[in-house]
Symmetry: C2
Subunit: 332 residues, 2 copies
DNA sequence: TTCATGGAGGTAAACGCTTTCCTATTGCCG
DNA sequence: CGGCAATAGGAAAGCGTTTACCTCCATGAA
């Protein structure tokens, strides 16, 4: 269909009657040229629609001007926002951002990253990948940053403190007068135990019950499936905290189908503050984990690292409690 | 910080005491080896933690086993789903998918794509990019596919028919008895006029009014901003169609804040059937545009193209009307 | 007129790999 | 034990660039 091979620097040189070195210098704006040469070069490039082969360039310079960002699930708005933030900063600094979706398939993650590494100057990887892969990445010859909770203290990690996030939410809910807490976690995430710790830290001293449930994926659908299990529990919670907003929203929806009034029969809260949490009914109480800022910060840091400026390895962002109607009882 | 240069095939060859050709053959499993060599190779590779430099490989083979997908806005769940579909198919076929977010910044799109082209075996680009870029892409030496409405008939394009999508929705709404239609479009998208055409095609014969408004970006926020303009119009519509679900949801939310009852005072419908449209209150009537299937289909086709199997250039998916409560009046 | 100066433009090596084409060794059969 | 095919392993070219280094010519100062 499209036979014509891409033109190379050699084609341009030939057409313009100069050496390839000259073309290279012209394309990269490295020196000035006599009027004749400059003109011929410009014409040749336009006629051939030449553009640099970034692969070949990267091979010799060792720089790709690209950064890779590997996330667990692009369909999760939390990650979409991280990507947004990262992308803006990358573009503003002249880097391209290549995003790859690991699809929660932890097994296949290594080859995927191996393919990504040589194509980029630095990598941002969402945590929650196998330890051996983490270690391999950390030993790499190029900067790597992680999203989430630090697993090693010698590598750049950006995120909020899960313990703190959970505690923040629990404190507020206790103050609201809730007595029986349900937590629907995602045990495959390492930070699940941190969140539990944060909850217990607040709930135990307050003498409040905590029932723990689990979902097998952090999605709306999993939340819907989990809802009945939680709501029909003999000791039904009066407030349910979802692993994230997606799970909480799924549960809340199902709860309504089952005839529960929210928040009066049962209240819900999530974590992440994804955009839609404002739009569901009732609007969802949640904790803002600075998704977009995370992307921005991690990108700034990794660019600094790429450019040889050493950076502190850990960076924790301050979460913010977002209270909405899903936890505000009229009686209170 | 991380001084050690990545090991190359040469390091492995040296350590194992063989030639680099042998290492290459081993790594790519191209021939059998004597026991001694095989063992030394395996050990050397493990000890050095060697992995191929995919850039160098791509240079010589001319194949990257990667596909690029450039979308307008990754934060739009419609695109997230396209990506999901595409990613699954890519992975299943041994390709990596690199996603880039063009951020609606049409000006900077050309350099971005120029960087992407040499790094991939094929490109999928969401339509709505400048004509000259489209043409440049179409002339490329590698397969390109577009998402959306075909702008040229010699290049693979996958999507739903915008005229049809709009008509489908309009038909249903007319049948529901709505009399004054509002349409809040996104005029910067070429398909906006197709949608208008689809609406008019149905509404004019039915003798139904159509008021047209515009948003400057297809987001929740833009919907919220537009809502007042539409709702306070002297000739207020009894049903409002948003450019997409995001806009519709934003408007609906604002409408409720303004005290309108939905759908009794004013009904809303969107387009795309993004996941959250089920979870808002009331659930949003919309048209499913097969986001995920679009991704799957376009990826299958482009892989076929890469592997030399010619494909039909156009492929239109059948949209499906999704009726929900946001347009179901109790009175009806 | 001469000679240093500087800048335009060229030559060739190198980046890390694959692949074609050889060579040399092995195993097998008669 | 001789001869042949089969096959393990190596040498070298080449993918499209950049870049260090070199040459050459024009310019200007003495």
């Amino acid at each position: 269909m499209k036979r014509p091979k891409r033109p190379t620097i050699r084609d341009v040189a030939e057409k313009a009657g100069v050496s390839i070195a000259t073309v290279s210098k012209y394309v990269n704006g490295q020196q000035s040229f006599s009027q004749g040469v400059e003109e011929r070069l410009r014409d040749a490039i336009n006629e051939l629609a030449y553009s640099q082969n970034s692969l070949a360039r990267a091979m010799v310079t060792g720089r790709t001007t690209a950064i890779g960002l590997a996330v667990m699930d692009l369909a999760n708005p939390h990650y979409s926002n991280v990507v947004k933030g990262a992308n803006r900063v990358a573009l503003a600094n002249g880097y391209n951002l290549f995003v790859v979706d690991m699809e929660e398939s932890l097994a296949a993650v290594r080859p995927l990253l191996e393919a990504l590494v040589p194509r980029t100057d630095g990598l941002i990887v969402s945590a929650r990948i196998p330890k051996d892969v983490t270690d391999w990445l950390a030993e790499l010859d190029k900067p790597v940053a992680f999203l989430g909770q630090p697993e090693r203290d010698d590598v750049l990690t950006v995120g909020t403190d899960s313990v703190h996030v959970a505690a923040l939410l629990a404190q507020y809910l206790v103050r609201q007068g809730f007595k029986r807490f349900g937590y629907v976690g995602y045990s495959r995430a390492p930070s699940n135990s941190d969140r539990l710790q944060g909850l217990k830290q607040v709930l135990e001293p307050a003498g409040v019950e905590l029932l723990i449930f689990d979902v097998d994926e952090p999605t709306n659908e999993a939340g819907e499936r989990a809802a009945a299990r939680v709501l029909l529990h003999p000791d039904r919670p009066d407030v349910i905290i979802g692993w994230n907003d997606l799970v909480a929203i799924g549960m809340m929806n199902e709860a309504r189908s089952l005839g529960f009034r929210i928040p009066d029969d049962v209240a819900f809260a999530g974590i992440d503050n994804i955009p839609v949490s404002r739009y569901v009914t009732p609007p969802l109480t949640t904790v803002d984990v600075c998704s977009q800022a995370t992307g921005e910060v991690v990108m700034k840091k990794i660019i600094a690292l790429i450019e040889g400026k050493p950076q502190p390895t850990g960076l924790v962002l301050e979460p913010a409690l977002i209270t909405r109607e899903s936890t505000q009882r009229r009686s209170t």
